[in-house]
Amino acid sequence: MMRRTMLFLPGNAPNMLINGDVLGADSIIFDLEDAVAPDEKDAARILVRNTLKYQKPTACETIIRINPLDTQEWRADLEEVIPCRPDLIMPAKAGCGQDIKVVADYMAQIEEQAGIQVGSTGILPLVETVLGVEKAFEIASAHRRVAGLFLGGEDLTADLHCKRTKEGQEIFYARSRIVCAARACGLDAYDTPFTDVEDMQGLVKDSQLARSLGFSGKAVISPRHVETVNAVFSPAPEEIQYARDVVEAIEEGKRQGKGAVSLRGKMIDAPIVKRAMQILDMERQMMGGDFQ
């Protein structure tokens, strides 16, 4: 699943909920946590439920950010939304593997009651505490529902007792750790949003840094960031062409019965083929999705 951009939308904003799927993001995150004031949690839950029930986006994936496990809200969040089949649940402040198991077990109960295939909804843990970073591998490998790891930089820096900066030096370790943990489990990692809505150059730089570290995509808090982040995490035309050439060369090699194949004077080994296939898969998804 390609998730170059995951766009946060407040769960209590009807206009945004029904139009979220036209804003170009690969995934939209209906937020029941930080974007919703405590006295509006129930209203937001109902709005998100009804959006999923009656107007579930078809052109992009839907993710629901639920409230953390140390609140009274998360169970109600799941009860309301799971029967309406979102693609993923994002538990906030995932701190360890046990947190994921608790959420997954409760999801299973609700799925069973609703007559939905157990395990059909995935989990995208939001790692935003120092404990969560240190236990990233445990979180990623805690349950077969886990679809990737998502780093939340804002809460993390508060937990680190340091200032969040645009350069992001303070979360460099966490970024790398999250990517390693996710990749070790065969999963993708997704980067924290860039929070200055006006600073488009800063956004490009931050996105490029995340991509260079191995992230597959990035969350965004403003629809205005979608196009830029999509562009950074999309393969460049020359990458796509190279990937096509690689696949063609391999197929030609097979036809000719060659064991080793080279392209432009370089041997094509398994990682190159794997990367080429990934790029072509992204291209297929980009072409098949709604117009970006």
């Binding site: 029904i18 804003l23 107007q55 709604d290 117009f291």
Partner: protein, 467 residues
Amino acid sequence: MSKLVSSLKEAIIAAGLKDHMTISFHHHLRNGDYVLNMVLAKAAEMGIRDLNVNASSLFDVHEPVIGHIKNQVVTGLEVNYMGQKVGRAISEGILEKPVIFRSHGGRAGDMENGSAKVDIAFIAAPCADNMGNMSGKYGPSACGSLGYAFSDAMYADKVVVITDYLVPYPLQDCSIPEGYVDYVVCVDKIGDASRIVSGTTRITRDPVGLRIAWLASQVVKHSGYLKDGFSFQTGAGGASLAVAKYVEEMMEKEKITGSFCMGGITGYLVSMMEKGYFETILDVQCFDLSAVASIRENKRHREISASRYASPAAKSSAVDSLDVVILGATQADTDFHVNVHTDSNGNIMGGSGGHSDTAQGAKLSIVAAPLIRARLPLIADKVLCRSTPGETIDVIVTQRGIAVNPRNQELRETLVRAGLPVKDIQELKKIAEDMAGVPKEVACKGRTVAKVLYRDGTLLDTIQAKS
């Protein structure tokens, strides 16, 4: 000699205002206008009745007109646009004679060809001298262009200039010259400056509006018109300005220098001209303070009359040379007809303005609007009021897709090839109805309260009372 009279009453008497006459007003002072109310109040006080008022637009500030209608001071209205407050009263049937709606170009044209006869024009002038040379560019009530007032001055039998900023003769930089003017009267204030023009007009931050604007800009890009010499009109609303922003980005990237932009002028279009993206601005109306300052100071920012803007009676007008126009809509239908006159309940709340003029004149007319507004689908089987004929609309852009008029098959194919989300208009209608449901039919089956004339003077549609 001086044309200056001591009071409005004296001017009214001198001009010979009598029962059954037609008097006219322009709307450059928009929602800050004091002049229309001032003249009608004085006429009522003087016992004059049965007036036909030809105002280029009526805003909510003109709500006192309702009282004058009830008292038979006003028995006829001719407008290009009518705000919600007066519109609601008209829809309720307070005026016996149907309101005549024209377009901006149609009004000028009908004055030129004699179809819209005016006995006395009362022209609010932000600056004037004692002989009637006038301008909108100076004074405490400056509004910039006086484009809509030219026809009134040129074709009314008598012309009264009302100003609150009298300058020594001669006003050097005048818009409308003294030769058309009979009387000048100076009053305390002709308007509320804070409501005449906006401080600034801003690009929308609404993501759905931005999505619509971006798609509209892509239609412009792929239409083939975006090249050196490009001419463009867009509205002053936040989403229309966003289209201008995206168009500017493309012009910068492709190093395109346009010819002219026009319509209601905002600071954003001024900045595009100043940055060299357009050679000139043809300004029939200013919408914000930047535009007012620019028309005063920049020779490339030219004031034009409504006739030069869009009159079908003229041998040519600027809309005929326009490449692309971005338009709004309160409702559209599957034949691409557009309604900008009534709200979803059938109450009058708008008017053509330059909508049908530019749609017909421009090579490419794009309607950009949200697919669902206030829980109602944009697209219906039939619009409640046909303000602009579908055959003059090329494209309807919504956040969920672009519908191209089947008359323009070539453009449709081009946009499909460009990868844009082109959809049949029936499909767009279904998407909206799947989301918002099919609205109940609005029952407007009362007597005719308004006639909508097309720019050539033919009857386009009628608007019925609610019951």
